[in-house]
């Protein structure tokens, strides 16, 4: 643990921003005060979703053990009126992903997800776990089957296991979005859309059209929805 120094490290007045970035790799932030509590918190899910295996340092990861306690803290803090989950993920550990998704969906704090860039593979259950899901117009979501890349499936049990994992993901997505199960399965096993794989890439509005996501929008759309959900919760019985 580090001890906080008193009154040190105040940035020098009049140092141009560009110079600061060049020398320290840091950026000046707008001046405060930031005393008042912000009603909505923001959780970014970026890179690989890391679960049981620590990924090599080159990977940018979202770690299970960072995210889960934060969700517990948010759920318990009455001052936090909502949570915006921003996703830009390539997927990752199925069990860690499903754990985050289950946590989000069982929170009483209103949750809105915003997919920016990409919400692929296990990112899809996390995106639909929110009370309201928003996808930006240019964001993509890849729906494809679970598989062990580079491994030959040798015994039927391996296949059965993968199939069970697959069912868990499908069931979760179907339960938490408007997408019909046959549609989801068809998209997952579609051939001819991905270069070297089966599956489907959904871009922005397509994800809404198939019923996976609720709305196309951006940060203001997501925050407006969060404010509405928070207002409903305040007004309703507890």
């Amino acid at each position: 643990m580090f001890e906080q120094p008193q009154g040190e490290r105040a940035p020098a007045k009049g140092v141009p921003t560009l110079q600061t970035i060049k020398e320290l790799g840091q950026m000046a932030t707008p001046a405060g005060p930031w005393g008042e509590e912000m009603p909505f918190h923001c959780l970014t899910i970026i890179g690989q979703i890391e679960g049981h295996i620590v990924l090599p340092p080159r990977n940018k990861t979202t770690k299970y053990e960072h995210v889960i306690p934060q969700l517990v803290a948010i759920e318990q803090n009455p001052k936090i009126k909502g949570l915006l989950v921003v996703l830009n993920t390539v997927g990752g550990d199925i069990e860690a992903g499903l754990a985050i998704a289950e946590m989000l969906t069982t929170m009483t704090t209103p949750v809105v997800s915003l997919v920016l860039g990409g919400g692929h593979s296990i990112g899809a259950p996390i995106a639909v776990a929110a009370d309201h899901s928003v996808i930006s117009a240019t964001a993509t979501m890849t729906i494809h089957p679970i598989r062990l890349s580079g491994l030959v499936i040798g015994v039927p049990q391996t296949y059965e296991y993968l199939d069970k994992m697959q069912e868990r993901v499908i069931r979760f997505i179907v339960q938490h979005s408007r997408v019909a199960e046959p549609v989801l399965r068809e998209m997952m096993f579609r051939t001819g859309e991905l270069v070297r794989d089966v599956g489907t890439v959904l871009v922005g509005a397509e994800a809404v059209r198939v019923g996976l996501m609720d709305e196309v929008g951006g940060v203001s759309t997501a925050l407006t929805r969060l404010a509405q959900l928070a207002a409903q919760r305040e007004g309703g019985p507890h």
Binding site: M1, F2, E3, Q4, P5, E8, R9, P11, L24, G25, Q26, M27, A28, T29, P30, G32, W34, E37, M38, F40, H41, C42, L43, P57, R58, H66, Q70, I74, L83
Partner: protein
Amino acid sequence: MLYTVLPLEEVLEGFELDPQPTVQLSWGGIPVEAEPLGSFQARVVRVLSTDPRHYLEPHVQPGTIIHGQIV
């Protein structure tokens, strides 16, 4: 997948070097991931909070060198 005008060798320069190990610590109540620079200094790599205010605090901006004592 990269879409950039920079040549790939420039983008991936130093890729073979392993990044420095990092530690997680609380800096003035803000959880951060930092790269230790000896026993008394560390460089902030990223903020690990969901509170948007923490991302506006100048003393934990990524790249900032924090001084302290490991206790």
